[in-house]
């Protein structure tokens, strides 16, 4: 076993009368990746904040390189080599890669001004050293998600990091980008850096970790079973109960009718997409970023323009769709970006759920806002989706991520849509909440005959819930396959085949 770098010893933390952490102990060795798992609100963030020095524990010790660091401030701990890379890449998008790496520690010339040449030179060296092949002079916003995250990590490394805390680094990344990030992290690990890795994706945790600690109800449990870690075992530890993975209750006997038809749809990214959606059917979408899968969802909902072609909804052919149009025709969309497009943090659960209905059900015949009905609807979905909060009047900023996501789901369902578009509905939430969302999706498609478009990069989740899968590449619909026992590997294989096919075609055009 390697030398111990960080030791958390019997740490307890109270917030008022709430015991957030009870006697938590674990240790991290140099050059290892230690994952921290737990449901939203279980106490993971509290642990991390205590290690970083943002919170002070009520009892217990934190030892870093055998020294008790309890008394040290956040800044002193950073100096010692404890660095956090937050969930949302904390880079300044308009500045260059070089400036982002050296922010706050700019090299100076004799007169005390910033030495730009040295800054660029050294940044290029750092990029080279850690194997990130981008131009140091490029602005960070021109990089893709995974490279932005790498810039963040390099910045931490340059500051002398010995322990890097990665807080849900993969949430916004595609599965290939994830793999790329893992290779990068493993290389740094081989050179002796230790990582605390926080994620909700058990598969990647099992793949990447040297050790796992699960936090449940403020207590720490070792994730290591008799035979190492398994996803099943970890899921059990996280929830404290057997989690039943939901499975689509596929009913062949339900009569299906066409609810939407796209004809030769061209738009943002989309090229000549023709397809039909049926009632009571869940259609999965698979494709790389900018392949057209997400763009289809957003175009149908009116968030992107249609250049040519048409969408037929409720028997009426349309050449232009706006969001209010789409909504009044029974389409609802759940955005992949909860913070940007989903929630309004300062408003209550009830207010958030009522927003899409303001100009529909919640308008009285006098044109006024029907507050009582708004509260009734909110209460109904609050109970149905098992949202954890004191009441429907709680503000969203006081809710955990998983419960915020459930509010977004509630908001989407509240309009009783005929066509429900779910764009990464389970991103960044714990397993229990995820299964509840999947179960509800299955239920409404059967009970209310809702047609569902389901986009997720978690293919294990996808194959459990969808009836058929559409594969997209370069804006085109490439394959339309029924989900008769497809596996995760099948999906990856078909997606990659489709990509190759598309590339060959493009090349032949050039020739």
């Amino acid at each position: 076993m390697n030398e111990i770098l960080l030791q958390v010893e019997n740490v307890s933390k109270n917030f008022g009368s709430t015991k957030a952490l009870k006697d938590v102990s674990f240790s991290i060795a140099k050059g290892t990746i230690h994952s921290l798992l737990g449901r939203n609100g279980a106490g993971k963030s509290t642990v991390v904040n205590i290690i970083a020095g943002i919170y002070k524990q009520n009892s217990g010790n934190i030892l870093f390189e055998n020294e008790d660091i309890t008394k040290f401030s956040v800044y002193e701990r950073q100096e010692m080599g404890i660095k956090i890379v937050p969930q949302h890449a904390s880079v300044v998008p308009h500045l260059t890669v070089a400036e982002n790496i050296f922010m706050g520690i700019w090299p100076r010339n004799g007169a005390g001004f910033i030495d730009w040449q040295k800054l660029r030179r050294e940044a290029a060296l750092e990029l080279d050293r850690y194997g990130l092949h981008v131009d140091a002079k490029a602005t960070v916003k021109s990089l893709n998600g995974v490279d932005q995250r790498k810039v963040n990590i390099i910045r931490a490394m340059h500051g002398g990091a010995k322990l890097i805390i990665l807080d849900e680094p993969t949430t916004a990344l595609s599965s290939d980008e994830r793999q790329e990030l893992f290779v990068f992290v493993n290389e740094l690990k081989a050179k002796g850096t230790a990582f605390i890795f926080i994620s909700h994706y058990l598969q990647e945790v099992v793949e990447l970790s040297d050790d796992v600690t699960v936090i449940r109800d403020g207590m720490a449990f070792s994730g290591r079973g008799k035979d190492g870690f398994s996803e099943k075992n970890l899921a059990h530890l996280i929830t404290g109960e057997e989690v039943k993975l939901s499975q689509r209750t596929l009913r062949k006997d339900i009569e299906k009718s066409i609810v939407m038809e796209c004809k030769k749809l061209n738009g943002h990214i989309l090229k000549d997409v023709s397809l039909k959606l049926y009632s009571a059917e869940i259609t999965g979408l698979v494709g790389f970023p900018s392949s057209g899968a997400r763009e289809l969802c957003r175009t149908i909902f009116g968030l992107e323009n249609i250049y040519s072609g048409s969408v037929t909804i409720n028997g009426k052919e349309r050449f232009h769709v706006s969001v209010p149009d789409a909504m009044s025709n029974g389409i609802a969309y759940l955005s992949y970006d909860r913070h940007r497009e989903g929630i309004i943090k300062l408003l209550s659960i009830a207010d958030n759920i009522s927003i899409p209905l303001l100009n529909a059900e919640l308008k009285t015949s006098f044109g006024l806002f029907n507050k009582k009905k708004a509260l009734d609807i909110a209460k109904h979905y609050f109970d149905l989706l098992n949202i954890k909060a004191n009441s429907i009047l709680d503000k969203l900023l006081n809710l955990s991520g998983g419960n915020q996501q459930k509010v977004v789901v509630a908001k989407t369902l509240a309009s009783n849509p005929n066509i429900l578009i779910l764009d990464e509905p389970t991103i960044g939430i714990d397993i229990k909440s995820r299964e509840e969302i999947i179960e509800n999706t299955d239920r409404i498609s059967t009970e209310k005959k809702t047609s569902v478009l389901y986009l997720t990069n978690d293919f294990d989740e996808l194959i459990r819930i969808v009836d058929r899968i559409l594969f997209f590449q370069d804006g085109k619909l490439m394959r339309d396959i029924r989900n008769d026992g497809l596996t995760h590997e099948d999906i990856v294989r078909i997606r990659d085949e489709v990509k190759r096919a598309s590339m060959q075609k493009t090349t032949s055009y050039i020739v």
Binding site: F15, G16, S17, T18, L303, V323, P324, A326, M327, Y333, S335, R340, E341, G342, I343, I344, K345, L346, L347, D351, S354, I355, P356, L358, N359, L362, K363, G367, L368, F369, K371, N390, K395, L397, K411
Partner: protein, 316 residues
């Protein structure tokens, strides 16, 4: 912990009322004349113009914007109405014209901000300077006086024994309260101010809500201009300047978050009463106008600090 936090948030959201009571007690202790019916009547009368302007400002701040053009809108719209009156136009026609001019300028602000994505602070600054310039050019810097009694009645008259001005304030308060709490537009205002992208994805026509909010803002500024000119019986070159920045302070002290999407109409009214009590109190206590200026500055300072503390208390 939870309880404490809820209590703290409630306290911070209603701090304007605590400050108001404290201020009244302190000023009353320093000079007992303060509690006379005349002075109290004075306060509600003086609060009217500031109140309506602060509601106007609150529409903009709810969207996370600051409307600097209000003073310009108010002087320009009042002047245009008065010029009509001077040229023989009947008062019942001139008054709606004032409101209409105010609303039209507000809608223009809204269109430029929503459709062209102009930065509200700078766009409204440009409108303010232009309108104030136009106002001075039209009047050549001379005061417009000799307003007809039917016009002045709205600012100086009484219904029974109650002055008209506070009645109008009460009416506007009720209307704005209904708009914010009981109409889809009002609820949309909270949504757009809180997170415009989420509002858009929820089917709210964000541009339309923005334009309407600025339209209301302009309309209310027009009403304020009308009432102030009726109250003072004249429009001079320093028309309304004492209300220029106070309306922002009143709205923010009253709990409308500078970042948008949060606030109540009652809170704004509380802010208005607090500021008016301080103004009138300083006059009664005979504080020199130099200090009054400084105290006004400090009040805005307090407002912005309160806003920051509220935000921090919610996030921790």
């Amino acid at each position: 912990m939870e309880k404490n936090k809820a209590l703290k948030t409630r306290l911070l959201n209603n701090i304007v009322w605590i400050l108001l009571v404290l201020t009244i007690i302190i000023i009353g202790m320093m000079d007992s004349r303060f509690f006379s019916p005349v002075i109290l009547g004075n306060i509600v009368t003086q609060a009217t113009v500031l109140g309506i302007l602060s509601f106007a400002q609150a529409f903009a701040i709810m969207l996370g914007a600051i409307d600097l053009s209000l003073l310009g809108v108010m002087s320009f719209s009042a002047t245009s109405g008065l010029i009509l009156v001077r040229n023989g136009c009947p008062v019942p026609i001139a008054i709606p014209v004032i409101f209409f001019v105010g609303m039209a300028i507000g809608l223009l602000n809204g269109v430029l901000i929503a459709k062209l994505k102009a930065v509200p602070l700078i766009e409204t600054l440009a409108v303010k300077l232009t309108l104030l310039g136009a106002f001075l050019a039209i009047t050549s810097g001379r005061a417009i006086t000799n307003l007809p009694p039917s016009y002045k009645w709205f600012g100086q008259g009484n219904i029974g024994r109650i002055p008209v001005l506070p009645l109008i304030l009460a009416l506007v308060f009720v209307i704005v309260y209904i708009i914010w709490n009981w109409t889809p537009f009002g609820r949309s205002l909270y949504a757009v101010g809180g997170n415009p992208e989420a509002a858009r994805v929820s089917g709210i026509k964000v541009d339309r809500i923005t334009i309407m909010a600025f339209g209301f803002s302009g309309l209310l500024a027009g009403i304020a201009g009308f009432l102030l000119s009726a109250y003072t019986g004249a429009v001079t070159s320093t028309f309304g300047t004492s209300y220029d920045m106070n309306n922002i302070a009143a709205a923010v002290i009253g709990g409308v978050a500078c970042s948008g999407g949060q606030g109540t109409v009652q809170g704004v009214l509380g802010g208005v009463l607090l500021l008016t009590v301080i103004q009138v109190g300083l006059q009664i206590l005979g504080v020199s106008s130099y200090y009054v200026q400084m105290i006004n500055g400090l009040i805005i300072f307090v407002a912005v600090l309160l806003d920051a503390i509220r935000l921090k208390a919610q996030q921790s």
